[in-house]
Symmetry: C2
Amino acid sequence: MTSQPSPLASPFPDMPAVAGVTLRVARARYKDWDRADLTLAEFAEGTAVAGVFTNSACASSEVELGRANIVHGRVRALVVNAGNSNAFTGYRGREAVEAIMAQVAGSLGCAREEVFVSSTGVIGVPLPQDKARAGIEAALAATPCSWEEAAATIGTTDTFAKGAYASAMIGGKRVELVGIIKGSGMIAPDMATMLGYIFTDAAVDPAFLQRLLNSSNETTFSCITVDGDTSTSDTVLAFATGKAGNVPLTSFDDAGADAFAAALLDVCRRLAHLVVRDGEGAQKFIEIAVAGAQSDDSARRIGLSIANSPLVKTAIAGEDANWGRVVMAVGKAGEPADRDRLSIGFGGIWAARDGQPLADYDEAPVAAHLKGQDIRIDVDLGLGDGRATVWTCDLTHGYIAINADYRS
Amino acid sequence: MTSQPSPLASPFPDMPAVAGVTLRVARARYKDWDRADLTLAEFAEGTAVAGVFTNSACASSEVELGRANIVHGRVRALVVNAGNSNAFTGYRGREAVEAIMAQVAGSLGCAREEVFVSSTGVIGVPLPQDKARAGIEAALAATPCSWEEAAATIGTTDTFAKGAYASAMIGGKRVELVGIIKGSGMIAPDMATMLGYIFTDAAVDPAFLQRLLNSSNETTFSCITVDGDTSTSDTVLAFATGKAGNVPLTSFDDAGADAFAAALLDVCRRLAHLVVRDGEGAQKFIEIAVAGAQSDDSARRIGLSIANSPLVKTAIAGEDANWGRVVMAVGKAGEPADRDRLSIGFGGIWAARDGQPLADYDEAPVAAHLKGQDIRIDVDLGLGDGRATVWTCDLTHGYIAINADYRS
């Protein structure tokens, strides 16, 4: 995190400890840098885990093993390596992850399947086993650290540390939910993978935690995009230690389940927004609200088609209320749309309704809105009740400078 | 066409007249500019027509009417308006197109359905009927013009006029195929729609011409991308006047059909490449050859996922052999892929095979290749026999400058 912070950066929030979670960091020196780059989170016995992983067909060994282990629903440790993604490294990459799992399981006296590993950074270079081993030894012996230190340590090309926090009441017990995340787009030769972790002291059955994480993911992490590119290592894990002492949540029939679900969704949404706010070269945060689609899924796909359109993203960078480019992006989404029912607005003001520019459209307030940092685009398909909101950032010279003005 | 020509520009070729085709241009002054902006092509009676149109769900009235009329298979005139796309203009836009069809049909004494109209340029402003009417009158009275004048007149943000030419022998008769095209990405507030037209003096049954155009389109126009954005007006039309006097082609059983199909494919491919060579901000022409996929369709989708990836396109702009970004783009394509069978190469040299970087990989010749203007990326999925080749350009500061550094 040596670059200038993003102009859209948020300060790191004050976040409480979560009983049953101990964080430590160490210097594995995966790259030639002077910073902690290995994070070890240790969890109390009986901690539940749930996870969502990249859809990439070329996922890393970390993701493959994580997918295999998540079905057991239990976790004792998380290791995050920054500086080397270990992606596209064949069997040697897999051996490196298995070695970490064995080492940590041996030290903590738990099953290997209870150790989760994430890696982010340079690809095509197997994670060096000696550095990982020494780093984990150092981490095991280190003094516990803060959320902010852990959030900074999992980061690679991030320009600021990212955290979000919420709480909920379950049957008279207060539970805390704390999240940290890294990701800012992708940068050569590092893949700026999105890695997000949510820690709670609530007692939650692993299957129900997975269900809640899936549903939160659908409207948060799955609704953000920086450049439409998907890392081979994207991972979000949720850990529930149960130390709050509530009656374990197993379904929405349980008292407090709704409150917990709402808090989890809130943390996920804020973490997702922080990733967009650190998008490479981002100068503006863009919220795209799609209504009137044939279904929520259709609305989300239309929203992402707009959010991924280079022409829409450059128009916003240029502070240009170019609704024609939004029409174009709706049209190419491959979803039901009717040109003559389509309405497009910026900052709450309709520019075009029912397929035609508004006769009395006043561009002045729209132009003022577009000069701000937080941009809102409204799209109404006029077809049904489907809605979705997605988030992205603008496409600027900064993105090109970061990703092209570079030689490996 | 006032900007600097693209560094990838090709000189306009010397192309023969096509019997049965008369080209004229005029100044309709759709914009406040000093250039011809209306093109009128007149065809001999009995000319066959085939067409492919944008898949956009928000297509312009020109496209809607073109789709409706193409089924009749006959054409007497084509009108191309540059400077106003007439897209997203509701019923007034449709009326403007119908007025042009009626005016031209009245002058030439043909059916309205035999007049095709394309428009490209600013969106959201109904095509002014008075300007169109006067422009068509002027064009009808004008001296016939050259291919190059017509190619320049249909252009908007294009930095050079684009044409391609081939010939074929059908049963001892030589037939000519001449194509012109415009398109360079999309530029605010103009939509730099791709409009392509192929003219031949061969006699070809309309249904067979449509079949040949569909199949040529699949491996040419449908395999190029500049920014992944799709205009609401994209159109390719093929016109066959029959003046060469060959026995009309009706199927591949006819002598000369294969030769004609090959020539048509050749013209389409060269026209498609010219559009990429005029991509906004393009500094490099990129050919991406995908092999070993489960099917040709799958290979094409994987190729386009790579070609549309901002991270791949910026890597090429930066002359960086970043095969990790290619892996990422393969992984996110949503197509069958196996990380451990995947091979990636640049300029004919494999950088990674079977999921791992090559131990003896020599980056020097690859680096030299990437310094050139014509870049080749090879991808082998190692799964099946599916193959496809797609073309794109790099993503540079020039693209951002054209699309963001602008206020409407």
